[in-house]
Symmetry: D2
Subunit: 343 residues, 4 copies
Amino acid sequence: MLYFENDYCEGAHDAILQRLMETNMEKMPGYGEDKYCASAKEKIRAACGCPEADIYFLVGGTQTNAVVIHSMLKRYEGVLSAITGHINAHEAGAVEATGHKVLGLPHYNGKLSAQNIKNYLQTFYGDANQEHMVFPGMVYISHPTEYGTLYSKKELEEIAAVCHQYHIPLFLDGARLGYGIASAASDATLTDIARCVDVFYIGGTKVGALCGEAVVFPQKAPRHFLTMVKQQGALLAKGRLLGIQFDTLFTDDLYLKISKNAIRTADRLKAVLIEQGYQFLLNSPTNQIFVILENEKMKQLAQHVTFSFWEKYDETHTVVRFATSWATKMEEVDALAALLLES
Amino acid sequence: MLYFENDYCEGAHDAILQRLMETNMEKMPGYGEDKYCASAKEKIRAACGCPEADIYFLVGGTQTNAVVIHSMLKRYEGVLSAITGHINAHEAGAVEATGHKVLGLPHYNGKLSAQNIKNYLQTFYGDANQEHMVFPGMVYISHPTEYGTLYSKKELEEIAAVCHQYHIPLFLDGARLGYGIASAASDATLTDIARCVDVFYIGGTKVGALCGEAVVFPQKAPRHFLTMVKQQGALLAKGRLLGIQFDTLFTDDLYLKISKNAIRTADRLKAVLIEQGYQFLLNSPTNQIFVILENEKMKQLAQHVTFSFWEKYDETHTVVRFATSWATKMEEVDALAALLLES
Amino acid sequence: MLYFENDYCEGAHDAILQRLMETNMEKMPGYGEDKYCASAKEKIRAACGCPEADIYFLVGGTQTNAVVIHSMLKRYEGVLSAITGHINAHEAGAVEATGHKVLGLPHYNGKLSAQNIKNYLQTFYGDANQEHMVFPGMVYISHPTEYGTLYSKKELEEIAAVCHQYHIPLFLDGARLGYGIASAASDATLTDIARCVDVFYIGGTKVGALCGEAVVFPQKAPRHFLTMVKQQGALLAKGRLLGIQFDTLFTDDLYLKISKNAIRTADRLKAVLIEQGYQFLLNSPTNQIFVILENEKMKQLAQHVTFSFWEKYDETHTVVRFATSWATKMEEVDALAALLLES
Amino acid sequence: MLYFENDYCEGAHDAILQRLMETNMEKMPGYGEDKYCASAKEKIRAACGCPEADIYFLVGGTQTNAVVIHSMLKRYEGVLSAITGHINAHEAGAVEATGHKVLGLPHYNGKLSAQNIKNYLQTFYGDANQEHMVFPGMVYISHPTEYGTLYSKKELEEIAAVCHQYHIPLFLDGARLGYGIASAASDATLTDIARCVDVFYIGGTKVGALCGEAVVFPQKAPRHFLTMVKQQGALLAKGRLLGIQFDTLFTDDLYLKISKNAIRTADRLKAVLIEQGYQFLLNSPTNQIFVILENEKMKQLAQHVTFSFWEKYDETHTVVRFATSWATKMEEVDALAALLLES
């Protein structure tokens, strides 16, 4: 069986397991107060070009979204998101469970536009009945998006400008951030992102770690953020598990290096698909590829390859997603290419 | 420096890291659908003597308490707990954050009594204004308790009988469950516990794992429990991390074996302290020891040993906690004994 | 100044104030246990043709929506609503504040279609990832809608059939229910509504009362509904205030009689507007009229009449809402007609 | 039957109904934007000696407590209250339902002491693990308390001083405030209270109104308070109902005058009880009297008088509560006295 179902079907990068072994019996304080967390934070600050950043390590993506959003919104505020945003569609209502509405905006291949955000805010603040409505208190974007697409540096700057104008924070969900930065299609670096947003996270779970997301507040975390993390059950006792992983990922540029593997293998897979005349739902420059398959073809393939059902395209076609990752081998792509050719 | 501050200052048992290494590049589905989770569940079912049990793996203790309690209470219900219960005192209001009141009852060395629970329930259901109050919807006990004490099998049965009589579930927080079962002071086995309670968890974080708690519903989990876990941000993408750890811990009785080490070292430490005339806050038969130290002595010791401040005893004395764990070496206890002797 | 801004700008129908006076010094129990509440419930049961109905009196509309929805949804469920539904747009996130997502569906002049609801439910239950999403746990419709439109008996039956098929309750927000029943445009009677839905409320605030909404569960209220009402701060100590009002409104058909006045005056106003060539946003057969005005005209009118801004139509036109009510006098409509003619 | 069960068993003071009649058909804006609300606020500001106060009218007591507390606490904060406080015991968990813990402190006849509050805060801020606990974010007191007792001006000032020192707001629940001010036993005036606290409310429901509580922020309400009121379903469409009532109660000192009636009748009843040798649970100087009755006597009385069961005193005695109100007639007290004498 070939696995292209998602980007979290293996364990962790070898170097991480190695470091966990080496440090295993060292005794250290809990809750992220250990030296590996401290070291990882320093390296991330350097990589992001924000020496004053407050950084926290959380365990998973849905958790991180819910914790960050609930910690930054006032209780009468909701969060603006593309209707395709992960928080709106695939997190079991985790944001609403903390009392906040997700205010869905139209998307363009998974992206929000600065203009749309601005229009929403203008209309809201122009409405005499605004006090009877949910105040827009944050903008949430994902980068790469749920469709594998990316914001350009200019697009990020424009969205940031609207947010600043209306004094609401901009939050970037980077569950797959490595794959965005490693892609040739975006000019936005870690430093650009850290400059544009008020908070973002660097995904570990999908980019080489066993688990873990690094939340970066380029300026300052909300007061008592740790207590809020604890209150939502997201504070890991053995914080070292996260610190050691991120310390490893941010040593010698490992995070970027392994991210590039996902892009290389995805690019190769795309080339194969194009060659063989497949149609794409959209052009995605990262590690997720959305292909339109005939239903029959899909069934055949499913006997040899795992992939994700995305959505029905029409009566006889289906959109499926192939995902590569830091761990995908070029031979696996070749094997998939052979399969596609055969069938 | 000697570490007796808590039972989570090392990484994981070697066997766990070994298994993580061996299985690292195997590809498998996420969210606990992998074969290691399945295998771990089978072994836990066998160890608990409940072949039909529903089992879920969560990441940490506060998280597990909040998820279990919120998933089993109706929205007009609260949870009965000793006022010293972890959920009442040290979880940053995680239960209340889900909308439920913790109904505090008096404790006896950290324990609830069946009689007290019964009195509370009788009084409640005898009150004509009950509909204006929080309905008692669950009993929460920890075993071992926050004071290291244990319920006997008989005590568990009595509490279970009251709960059954009033049709409310009994939840046992087993963050340190191994240390309870390994202690000679309690006759309650895993099987007894699984028979008495409606839900409990087997703590991994404090007993040899990097992270992880195994939630056991001896009969049946609440409907859509997985969705509720997800909604609270507690569903791990790479569920294998938890499955592999618990599979290892429940292979060849490893969980019990390493738990016994904590008891042996704690017993030895207690013997030393008694020998030297120290007073204890209470008699705790597990891995946490509560000693009353003169403040001067405490300051001296603190230069060489870490321990937890527990509470002020009087103007010149303080209660401190020493904790051993699966990883504590007898030599460390001896070194501590030497220190205590010297000073 | 002429008032057509909304349907709650006067006090209460005279008969209500009269009854409040007459009964004022009678001593009676609180919290809805008084004889007037009992009598009102009996009369409403009779009017709705459901002798076993559980009935509760709440104070206002947003409150009633939040209480009913939160009391009937499981915590992993959200509520399906037209995106124009009051709960989705104009209640400050009251539903989300209780932890539940409002799942917005497209609307047709403020209405949901049975087919759309069915499609949503089919797609949801066909999705392999449904456990990572918000379960659809209820359908919310308003009747009349926020656009003054009405469901036919057949449409209600079709929606009810879908709900029954999927075992989720149907909730009808009747904040303006009187105006729906009094309109010639719908064939759905109180009895039809009570037969089709699982819960609905009969609006008092906008139909002749000082305050108050009567929540009707044609079969059975959720267990401990009163406690949930109390928990959300919606239980009135002097429940008599609500009981006496609804007892009066349901004596000698007063509720329907005064509702008809709103329809008569609205119909007359519509006739005048049509005569004078005004365009409508849509055809609304109840007490709310949505007219497209030139911006200049709107400004002139605003000096003599109050109305609601609804939305921008284009650069030079605006949609405004005129509302009549139980208290609107035909002379007021005539005065407005004269004003429209003049200008 | 004689009614001494509570202080809300009649309707409203005549003058209020009169004003509701007179103003009934006046057309005015909703949501508290009407002239009667404005006038009532001015009169209350004057009565409280705080010309800059922000004032809002809510409907009931539990609602007001939940709205005020939830609007002023940060999400990681809880509210300190006597364990006997209404929010802790008798509001169905309304505060917890908004996500906040009620931190119970010991009470002295229903009162908190400044010293106890200070000790709690000192201990909390001295605890190295404070970030894992619920931050104390507000002090809640009721005046009169649930036991009918009162704080002296000095006690209020002392509590206020502690709150200021720790920068947390002081909230006074004045559901029965009139009966506190009218009592000879407290020297704290409305002005004193407004000077000492950060927010309080003037109870209408129990002091002459049909419903309604006036929330007073002597300095400034939290930002977007109205939206938070709306979000909790507590914003009345016909705000005039509350404005007219409070405008009447604060015209010609009506509020104080009618409050005095409750005190006069309670004092007379106490005198009768003392004369006849009854024992009191405690000395309560307001309109609630807590008497210890023999169970037999209690049963006899219950055939002719309504009162509240308070608690079991011992095997043969029970504590019951008699309450007078603005509406109690001296003849009713005399009739009760006669009954007590007879039996």
